[in-house]
Symmetry: C2
């Protein structure tokens, strides 16, 4: 049985869903994706301090720096440190951002999670939940900030769920709280669907808890390694978003 | 009626589907995506000369250079020129690549197509086909190479279809040819589905024409601007691919 599982062909699924804070023109969260030159991919999720245009400029700067280094083969921890140094140098330590890097590294055959955020990351391996919530600093403020890094071997039925604080605190203004781990555990144990469907389900619940007016930018990132059920060997990428009106 | 169409809320849809050449370990095509700092997104599709690892190193270098500049707000034509200069300097003009950049630019409210490829790009605006097939040079070989750039205003029912030469030449080894424009025209006029579904349909037909053993790396990129039918304002990203076995 063990041997069978090891030989299973696996599929990577990534789903990201984002909305901006209610009544703002753009999200201050930035999500970027890059192929790792030695195999695999990295997802960078940055949440700039405050919201709107100011936050977007910050999260864009941070994500861009991390992505450009990861594209050159720089390791995740060094890319996170560089994004920190870059933001701190540009803004003299006055502005912060939260940063997640989630990578599938096909050289080490691991999933690597780097956190500079007060938001936990949820990891499910074969139904067992592990909450990555060690205290970590945001980037941009203090000398020597580094990420908290966790690594998991590539294995079937591994799920990683990361999100920004608009999701974490959904409902708080209305006296409710969001049991993200509970929703995720049910979704996975009931085999309700794919990584994109889980990202959508978490985002929809967060928006509902904020009574359809998100009180902050909200982003959800789900990465899953599942037994391959695709009929072909293709790699696929899909993007959808509504255009802002003129 | 005109006014109604102008006020329609639009949705961006992007679909990319790729397979590698039969019996190679990895595709020599690279597709990367980046958010434009002033609004919109850019897709970079690079096809490195030859196939396998050597081609991948080239297309990765080229795509990385273009993406990192686009992420900083550099215009598409300058990013393509820089990718060319960079490849030519690194490989002394001995190695070529083909390069497409397809952007949705929300500042100019246009779709921008930059070609350094012998593969045409198909553009459909409200059912009318335009084939972008002006002669353009690959990058990396000659001094002063520049892209052929075409620009289209953001408008409902605009489709852009780009692909690498493995798709263009699908079936050639078996005496068949692929009428990509015909398939695409039918798909769009029969309202058969979304941008990702069109990308999948083109790739599936190309693979079938090569008798399920792709004779070259194949990549298809479809970008569409359609009346928005999403129930929410979320931005979504999906990635799926099978992992290489151990």
């Amino acid at each position: 049985m063990e041997g069978q599982l090891d030989n299973l062909e696996l599929e990577l699924q990534v789903g990201v869903a984002k909305v901006r804070k209610y009544a703002t023109s753009e999200s201050g969260d930035t999500l970027e994706l890059i192929e790792r030159p030695l195999g695999g991919l990295s997802l960078v999720l940055a949440d700039g301090q405050r919201s709107g245009r100011a936050a977007k400029l910050i999260s864009n700067l941070v994500a861009r720096k991390a992505i450009s280094l990861l594209a050159e083969g720089v390791r995740d921890g060094a890319a996170a440190r560089a994004a920190h140094d870059c933001l701190r140098a540009h803004r003299q330590g006055q502005v912060s951002a939260e940063l997640h890097i989630v990578s599938l590294d096909l050289v080490s055959r691991t999933v690597v999670v780097s956190r500079n955020s007060h938001c936990p990351v949820l990891v499910f391996v074969d139904g067992a939940l592990r909450v990555l919530d060690q205290v970590s600093q945001p980037i941009g403020l203090y000398a020597g900030t580094k990420p908290i890094i966790s690594e998991f071997p590539v294995a079937a039925n591994t799920w990683v769920v990361a999100y920004t604080d608009g999701v974490l605190e959904a409902g708080a203004r209305f006296g409710a709280s969001f049991d993200i781990a509970g929703l995720t555990t049910s979704f996975i144990s009931d085999e309700q669907g794919s990584a994109p469907q889980l990202a959508d389900a978490i985002l929809a619940r967060a928006v509902a808890l904020d009574q359809k007016r998100p009180q902050d930018d909200m982003s959800v990132l789900v990465l899953a390694l599942l037994p391959n059920q695709q009929v072909d060997q293709a790699r696929r990428l899909v993007v959808r978003f509504p255009l802002p009106p003129l």
